[in-house]
Amino acid sequence: MKAGVLALQGAFREHREVLHALGFDAIEVRTAKQLLSLDALLLPGGESTTMTHLLRTSGMHAHLTDALRDGLPTLGTCAGLILMAKEVLDGREDQIPLGVADVTVRRNAYGRQRDSFEANLSVKGLLGGTFPGVFIRAPVIERVGPMVEVLAEHDGLPVLARQGSLWFSTFHPEISGDLRIHEAFLKEAEV
């Protein structure tokens, strides 16, 4: 399987390390060409405004949208989720998301960095106890469409969900030291 991590900015290294620990190699994706022939893609945490800007300047925005629409299995975390969303609130005016995941997200919804937090999460279908959720200037999913299946909630709000081959979280499994969410995502991507 050929996996890629969008490496324009953010915690792309951590996703690669998780994949490596699970026995997969992943390439760093910075151009539209590198998107070709991928079997799975990870959209990391980072600054969504920066990534959106760089998607535009690198000419990748449309290619990435098409790839996700065409069913490329993709896991987006935090800023990665913001990129995937249909609607983004409290973003910049020029922050055009890829619009593939039928959710509405609000950026920095918990507040500033002082409100960033850790919390244990019960994740549907995950064996071995709760999952350590790390929320950093995290967004909130305020609306989910009918095709979206919520896999975990915190304070009554969805924090991990999927829509077919698209998985997305408001928290950062890539820096939690727990491989299970990546493992579950990759297991399905392989089929």
């Binding site: 951590e14 910075r30 945490g45 980072g46 600054e47 500033r112 919390a119």
Partner: protein, 295 residues
């Protein structure tokens, strides 16, 4: 809101530093500059009253910025806002914490407040970034709770030579430690004046336990590419943007060059027609070496 949560943990602090990797953090002195920085794709802004080259020119005591000025910048951008306190000035750090600043820079660019102690950073909710010129200094700052290290370089000079020296020193020593025998690590700890546990951790990981960015002298897209290739994980640009002839263009170019640092064609493309970079200073011509501040 009832589910349990823990704030201000080391994981959460280092996590924000990790999210800033591969990006550019820009010094800004007013809301207008902050907007230009965010428009250009900055991952964060550093709110301060004067950029380092002006602090250098003006002389006198440089202190924490006016809270009203920091709040003005917070109000116009959606990206994280950082601000500087003086070395050892924990009261300024407390003020910045109360303002909701996302990252506190305990910075040698400001005039130090304590000649022996840095701020005890563990007790604060926001993460701290500190400068370092060598591995020992980096590990001492991490032992005090820094969540991010930046190589110091020499701020306000537009001269990359010190940044390169510091990066090579830190990364060179890390390389040596990874091949040292276990019993040699005690001598390393003694010589670096750093805790043995952190020295062991570096030996095992082959890198610092927190991210390392580069600051102090970056003035062009190629400068950013150079330090990223040397091993910096992101860059701070102080005077280099708003002391250039076309700040918006320079800001955008440095952002592109930081992401595509390994692709000379992209660096060449964004380097065309930028106008004048900041004028810059020879190190021999400066009176105060900021990098020597900190202990």
């Amino acid at each position: 809101m009832t589910d349990e949560r823990s704030i201000g943990t080391a994981r959460v602090k280092r996590g924000l530093a990790e999210m800033l990797r591969g990006g550019v953090i820009m010094d800004v002195v007013d809301p207008e500059q902050a907007r230009i920085a965010e428009d250009a794709g900055a991952t964060a802004v550093m709110a301060l009253e004067r950029v380092p080259s002006d602090i250098r020119r003006d002389g006198g005591v440089a202190r924490m910025s006016d809270p009203a000025m920091i709040e003005g910048i917070k109000a116009v951008v959606t990206i994280p806002v950082m601000a500087k306190c003086r070395i050892g000035h924990f009261a300024e750090a407390q003020v910045l914490e109360s303002l909701g600043v996302d990252f506190i820079d305990e910075s040698e660019v400001l005039t130090p407040a304590d000649e022996a102690h840095h701020v005890d950073k563990w007790g604060f909710t926001p993460p701290f970034v500190c400068g370092a010129t060598n591995l020992g200094e980096a590990l001492r700052r991490i032992s005090e709770g820094a969540a991010l290290i930046r190589s110091k370089g020499e701020a306000g000079t537009g001269n990359i030579v010190e940044a390169v020296r510091h990066l090579r020193s830190i990364l060179g020593d890390i390389k040596k430690i990874t091949v040292a025998e276990d019993e040699e690590l005690y001598a390393w700890a003694k010589n670096l004046q750093a805790p043995i546990d952190l020295v062991r951790e570096v030996a095992e990981r082959g890198e610092l336990p927190v991210p390392m960015f580069c600051a102090g002298g970056i003035a062009t897209p190629s400068d950013a590419s150079l330090v990223m290739q040397l091993g910096a994980q992101a860059v701070f640009v102080g005077s280099g943007i708003f002391k250039s002839s076309d700040p918006a263009l320079m800001a955008r170019a440095i952002v592109e060059a930081t992401t595509h640092y390994a692709d000379p064609e992209v660096v060449a493309k964004v380097s065309r027609g930028l106008g004048d970079a900041m004028r810059g200073l020879e190190l021999a011509a400066i009176e105060t070496t900021f990098a020597d501040r900190g202990w």
